[in-house]
């Protein structure tokens, strides 16, 4: 697995502090049903947190279905519009991700059909059916869980792990150390500590060890 992502251009959203809800949410992690319940009680912060948690997932599904950035942005808006109207039905879902993936996938499909290829070129796979292949859903869910786990470790660990993950071709500890303001010699030990934290969260979220 390689990437052409140069370290210096990692988006701030990937390495920066993630703001989770406003002061009202108390900054603590809430599972999906708790957030949906809070939305139903009229709390904007709970909705904000759902959008923060799943916006990237929905956008990813759309981009990897072959949609342009603009169309993928429309899919994000459409999917969250549907989710908002469907909150009552969604409150029993222990994981929203599977519902969101399927809904995003169908929105992509719909958009692709409607556009008739004008601004959208969908993968044939997507055009041919209205439902995503199971293995795709599993992969998207796993990616979502990794992002959720990363969001739950402290900012410094998140920044370091993300930088190292994206820099796996040619480690430039110097550059990463400089950017994160830590001594080069502490990167190895800090990675080990941070990854053990991430593993704990992954286990809490039910991510299997082998995959």
């Amino acid at each position: 697995m390689t990437t052409d992502w140069p370290v210096g251009t990692v988006p701030a959203t990937l390495v920066g502090e993630r703001v989770r809800g406003d002061a009202e949410s108390g900054g603590k992690y809430r599972n999906d049903p708790a957030l949906v319940e809070a939305c139903l009680a009229g709390h904007q912060w709970a909705w904000d947190e759902l959008v923060e948690r799943y916006g990237r997932l929905v956008f990813s599904v759309a981009r990897r279905s072959g949609l342009t950035t603009q169309d993928a942005e429309d899919v994000v808006q459409n999917v969250f519009t549907i989710a908002l109207r469907r909150l009552h039905a969604l409150r029993d879902q222990t994981r929203l991700s599977s519902w969101l993936i399927t809904t995003a996938y169908r929105e992509c499909w719909r958009l692709g059909r409607r556009a008739g290829g004008a601004s959208v070129s969908l993968d044939t796979e997507v055009v041919d059916s209205g439902a995503p292949p199971v293995e795709e859903v599993v992969r998207w869910e796993r990616e979502q869980l990794v992002h959720e786990a990363l969001a739950r470790v402290d900012g410094r660990c998140r920044a370091l792990l993300t930088a190292l993950f994206l820099d796996d071709r040619e480690p430039s500890y110097q550059e990463i150390a400089g950017r994160l303001g830590m001594p080069v010699g502490s990167i190895g030990p800090t990675r080990a500590r941070c990854f053990r934290k991430l593993e704990m969260v992954l286990t809490e979220l039910g991510v299997a060890g082998q995959s």
Binding site: L14, C39, L40, V76, Q77, I82, V207, Q210
Partner: protein
């Protein structure tokens, strides 16, 4: 498990350096040898790579903050239907006979500016309808297909968890059209000729039918 194996475990640092492909080949070989016999260390390496691959795969796919803000802003424009939250009491009493609940039209995509956030459909060969009822909400996408056939794609969202559902088109005054089963997420798809229909959403778990009245195709 055993004390002997434990003393041979590589420390976390070299283990993760191995997972990241940073170790010189001699050391990498030694770690690889250990992994073959140690499921615990192999699992750590697998988890590291799984997390890395997930981050790498999605690296360029972050929506802009403006897109997220737009989605967050939807909340302020939405009225939570306060009365739909408590069907639990009533549901116990309706099992003995099939109860018909008529859904009301809540959204018509053919109306200009019908829904903030949806891009308008200039071409007009497909439109969206949304219906609400106390038992389920129903989203429909109506689309003309060649040969004056019409496709209805929809999603049922019960107010309590009660998929499975069967969806059937019926002709008012008698006559059955096509039927379909909704999937685990409530999605379904039907095709039929132009005409005037009722769409019945049969929810056997609730002993109820939600009816979308007066669905005119074509």
């Amino acid at each position: 498990m055993t004390g002997i194996e434990a003393t041979e475990h590589p420390k976390d640092e070299p283990l993760l350096a191995y997972a990241a492909g940073e170790l010189p080949s001699a050391e990498a070989k030694a770690v690889a040898g250990h992994l073959a016999d140690c499921p615990a260390c192999a699992a750590t390496v697998a988890r590291y790579r799984m997390a890395r691959d997930a981050v790498v795969a999605t690296a360029g796919e972050q929506p802009s903050p403006a897109v997220l803000d737009r989605a967050k802003a939807l909340f302020a424009t939405h009225r939570m239907p306060a009365t739909r939250a408590a069907p639990d009491d009533s549901i116990g009493n309706i099992v003995e006979s099939l109860r018909r609940v008529v859904a009301g039209l809540a959204f018509d995509g053919r109306m200009a500016g019908a829904f903030a956030g949806f891009r308008s459909d200039a071409a007009g060969e497909a439109y969206q309808l949304a219906y609400e009822s106390e038992l389920a909400a129903v989203d429909l996408e109506i689309e003309a297909t060649p040969g004056d056939r019409w496709r209805i794609m929809g999603q049922i969202s019960p107010t309590v968890a009660t998929i499975p559902a069967t969806v059937a088109l019926t002709i008012p005054g008698g006559g059955e059209g096509p039927e379909a089963e909704a999937d685990a997420h409530g999605f379904f798809s039907l095709q039929t000729a132009a005409g005037r229909y009722e769409l019945e959403i049969r929810l056997p778990d609730l002993g109820a039918v939600v009816v979308v009245p007066d669905l005119v195709l074509g």
